[in-house]
Amino acid sequence: MICWTSFLNKIVGMLLGLLLLSGCAGRGAVGPTPLRVDIAAIRQEGPQVVGQGTLRVRATAAGATGPLRYALLSQKAGLTMLEASGDQASWQWRPKMPGAYRLQVVAMDGEGRRTVSAWSALHHFAPALDDRTLVALLPPDNISGTSAPLADIHAALRRHLAAAGLRLLEAERLSAFMEKHRMRHTGGLDSDLARALRQETGAEAVFISALESWQERGEPRVAMLARLVLTTDLPEIVWMDSVGLAGNERPGLLGLGRVTRPTELLNKALTRLTGSLIRYKAGQHRSYRGPRQVAGRDYQAAEPPRQEPGADLLGADRRAVHAPRSSHRLSGFRADRPYSVAVVPFLNIEARTNAGQVMALHFVKELHRYENIRVIEPGVVRHTLLKYRMIMEAGPSLAVSDVLASDTILGADLILSGKVFDYQGETTTSKVDFSVQIFDGPQRRVVWNSRSYADGDERVYFFDMGRIASAHGLASRMAGRACEKFLQD
């Protein structure tokens, strides 16, 4: 006869023993608590519009040993970019370009353990320009070094922008404002004027244009650089592009494609420029998020590289012609980090009038395409240099760089300057020769130095195919290649 009580006792005892053993085994396997990071909250502040709205992101981490370091990553169209890093677990983030973004937080503790949060939901940011945005159109700044019919060009620009659907501030109101504030320089916008313009006229953005070259006699030529700047407390460039055309650029069969009237060429140029602005308004403006290497993964450029007009018949890489002939980047410089850049006018060594200013604007335009680079509005840089009476006879000194890099003044991480040795293309073959130097403001060191020179006829063998007729086209490509090389991984 089985004794059920003792049998049950034995079973319970065995189970208890097993539980005890498993408990002991479990205790033996217990390691450090796994590191975990989460996005605790994302709060929207302001409208989801570029330059106006921000996202306040807060992360929480658990299981860390030692001090924690965080990094905020953003993802757009499948491309990831580092936005910020440090020991703070909260950020006020705003994108530079419109689009749909996801955010992720990376955490690393004192023992070097690294973990990532889940990607956040999509956050859409609209372009800073829509049909309701009130835009003040400043008269073009003539940096062509020649006299030009600025009033006509201004009127034509106004017509084209109105036709593109922009809501423009009345010319009379803008004139009154400029008169009241003694605003003579129309090539940029500083913080004080931006604030006053917004408060007094309601203008939310300013369209700033610079006439780079103008030629009526012989073959007409026109080149312009334009940008849209928000009238926020610290004016911010939201769109920038340029156009440079020559009447004999594409003569075609029997010279039928030749443009002989300057007004026709101007209209063509303005149509292209406003076309680019319309694309920005529609959220289709091109920007680069790469190539980047974030969190150990390789990312490709968001957009294919711009197509070079005039392919080289012998198959040579035309992009190499416009790349810097010699360059050096300080080892250890991280190109994938976010930077704010102040571009100061280049020194004009032997080139035409205002060539230094033109070259600086080309670099502003090319750098603005990169999403990890925030280019400080040239008007703000100019105002700062004037305010602190910074005279640069031979380029910026460390004292100038300290002023521009100071957190209480401009907070520029990088200061770009250079020298222009040649800038010609008005009548003869286009030729551009310049050098660039970039300082790391906080480190007080030169991080980049390059020398670029090229002429428009380089590697042109048959029927002018691939010839770059204007100095504008050449300078734009050369500045683009220099930026590409500086920011490559």
């Binding site: 050096h328 032997e350 031979a394 380029g395 000194s397 460390l398 020398r451």
Partner: protein
């Protein structure tokens, strides 16, 4: 029975022609040897003429590893091109920085140092001025330069670009020259005289001169 020329060794005429051929061959051999000897002599002479005393000076007692920061002063320009000195200096500064052997101070900072030190002739400072500049700029050495030639040279109908530069590295602690060198590149060579072509672009010639000087500095 007729004797074939092959069997009987040929006619006297044929024999004499063979002898003549052999003599000619011997002559040619002698001539060839003569030509070879002449060529060898010419080469040896050319070798002797290509030897030249070294055109650089290095202070053997100087510890160059102690130099970490240098300031490149504006070059003295002895050419008719007013801005040539600045062009060459800019290229030199970029290429020297790229060697990563020294940190090259930016030109704006050098200009500030020149002003602060009250240097009267920036391209030829005195030892005291160099010492003073060294303290202001925190540079261990300064580089001075003279641009002797820059631009096209012409010989007959041929034209080519030439650049000639001399440099000195001066220690700021003592104000003494620790290294000096010069180089000339470009100009009209035999190929230009025979085929024309106009020589190399000015920027290329400048790069060659600077490369040559950097080779001399780091050899």
């Amino acid at each position: 029975m007729t004797q074939t020329p092959e069997a009987g060794g040929g006619s006297p005429l044929q024999r004499s022609s063979k002898t003549m051929k052999a003599d000619t061959m011997t002559d040619w051999k002698k001539k060839l040897t003569g030509i070879c000897v002449a060529c060898a002599l010419l080469l040896a002479l050319a070798g002797c003429t290509s030897w030249a005393p070294p055109n650089d000076y290095t202070n053997m007692n100087m510890d160059f590893s102690s130099i970490q920061t240098v300031a490149v002063l504006p070059f003295q320009n002895l050419t008719s091109d007013e801005q040539a000195g600045e062009r060459v200096r800019d290229s030199f500064m970029g290429m020297l920085l790229a060697t990563e052997a020294f940190y090259v101070l930016p030109p704006g900072e050098v200009a500030r140092g020149i002003n602060r030190a009250g240097v009267r002739t920036a391209h030829a400072p005195t030892a005291d001025e160099i010492k003073s500049m060294g303290k202001i700029l925190e540079a261990e050495a300064v580089i001075t330069g003279v641009l002797r030639e820059y631009g096209p040279v012409r010989s007959g109908s041929t034209e080519a670009n030439i650049a000639s530069v001399s440099l000195s590295l001066i220690e700021t602690q003592t104000g003494t020259i620790v290294w000096a060198a010069s180089s000339t590149r470009g100009g009209i060579d035999l190929k230009d005289r025979m085929l024309g072509g106009g020589g190399k672009p000015m920027n290329k010639v400048t790069e060659q001169v600077i490369n040559d000087l950097l080779d001399q500095l780091f050899e």
